[in-house]
């Protein structure tokens, strides 16, 4: 009986050992995992900054004033560099924290850029119709006024010409 219990305990210990080793192999060391996570976070931050810049560029092309966005993008860029430096130094927690901070700034820039773009497009449409209306109405009024002036001028000119008295020229010779 004692021997059987000892054998089972031995088997259980082996099983536990195998499970621990398998667990370590499948998850890797906690340190390496932390570095991988931090590296992924910095990569995400980099992508977030690029997307935020794309959104700011779209807003600028739509005619929005993006100077405020550019200031904040520079802030995000500086934090991203800090995250990369921390990652290079092996400081995973600092890298992940900076990357998170960078993503936060980039996402706020992106949403603000989208709002600015919509607003700028609306404004541009209003300006487009305003300018078009001004041009069309302005040309129509100008041409009508010019035609009226021309008719009056022509009438006056004809009347003036008809009312002229013929001049008699003397031939001294």
């Amino acid at each position: 009986m004692k021997g059987l219990l000892r054998q089972r305990a031995k088997s259980l210990a082996w099983l536990l050992l195998v499970l621990i080793v398998a667990g370590l192999l499948s998850y890797g060391s906690p340190c390496a995992k932390g570095a991988d996570d931090a590296s992924g976070s910095v990569g995400n931050a980099d992508a977030a900054v690029r997307q935020a810049f794309n959104a700011a560029l779209d807003a600028e092309r739509a005619g929005a004033n993006v100077s405020g966005l550019i200031v904040r993008l520079n802030e995000a860029g500086a934090v991203l560099v800090e995250a990369e430096v921390a990652l290079g130094d092996g400081n995973s927690s600092e890298a992940a924290s900076k990357a998170g901070q960078c993503v936060g700034i980039a996402e706020s820039v992106r949403s603000e850029a989208d709002a600015l773009k919509t607003s700028a497009l609306d404004g541009a449409q209003t300006v487009f119709w305003m300018y078009l209306t001004f041009s069309v109405v302005g040309i129509a009024v100008f041409v009508a006024v010019l035609a009226l002036v021309w008719r009056r001028f022509k009438r006056d000119h004809v009347e003036k010409t008809l009312s002229m008295k013929p001049e008699v020229a003397h031939n001294e010779a």
Binding site: R61, V81, L146
Partner: protein, 198 residues
């Protein structure tokens, strides 16, 4: 003056008037070509002037220069300034072929600039673990803006110029929206340095 002559004057005035009134609408559809598009990259000495550049540098002494970028691309741009370190036998960027140096970047700046905007930042650097013996020198560490980097860069004695010459150089890269990647912007500036141990 005959009536026909007046008619021509009226027609000319009418044409000019129509063009003037059409200008705002034409401005919406006709875009005149803008000027030349380019970016500038520069390095200035510690006094913000193109002078007093470090040349004879000693181990563990800190040196200051200023890096600058100018955007004249008619739109905002996302730049990367990459700091690299080379000895005389290593490749520098080839601006004729538009190829950057194959050396790894040691430090970088990320800069966003609107059209017409300038950026200038200090770049401080110092060398550590410099050793020289038997016409051979090795720079072990480079510290850029407070970040210490291991470089382990060897160099041989330059008989012609009398020193161990290295170059700290900065490449300008620009983010390409279409390819969603940075590409070398074909500009670089560098500082030739005669590095000596303390």
């Amino acid at each position: 003056m005959k009536l026909e002559d007046y008619k021509q004057v009226f027609a000319a005035v009418g044409l000019v008037g129509v063009l003037l009134f059409a200008t705002p609408a034409l401005g919406l559809v006709v875009h005149l070509p803008s000027g030349q598009k380019f970016s500038e990259l520069w390095v200035l000495g510690s006094g913000h002037m193109a002078e007093d550049y470090p040349f004879n540098v000693r181990e563990n002494e800190s040196y200051l220069v200023y890096l600058g970028v100018d955007n004249h691309l008619s739109s905002s741009a996302y730049y990367e300034v990459i700091v690299k370190f080379a000895n005389q036998s290593e490749s520098l960027p080839d601006t004729t072929a538009g190829v950057p140096s194959s050396l790894p970047g040691l430090y970088e700046y990320r800069v966003f600039l609107q059209d017409g905007q300038s950026w200038e930042q200090p770049l401080t650097f110092s060398f550590s673990q410099v050793s020289a013996a038997q016409n051979r020198s090795v720079v072990g560490g480079l510290r850029v803006n407070g970040v210490t980097l291991s470089v382990e860069k060897p160099e041989v004695w330059d008989d012609g110029n009398g020193g161990y010459f290295y170059e700290v150089f900065m490449e300008l890269w620009i983010y390409n929206v279409a390819s969603d990647a940075f590409q070398f912007h074909n500009r670089f500036v560098g500082l030739w340095l005669n590095v000596t141990a303390s």
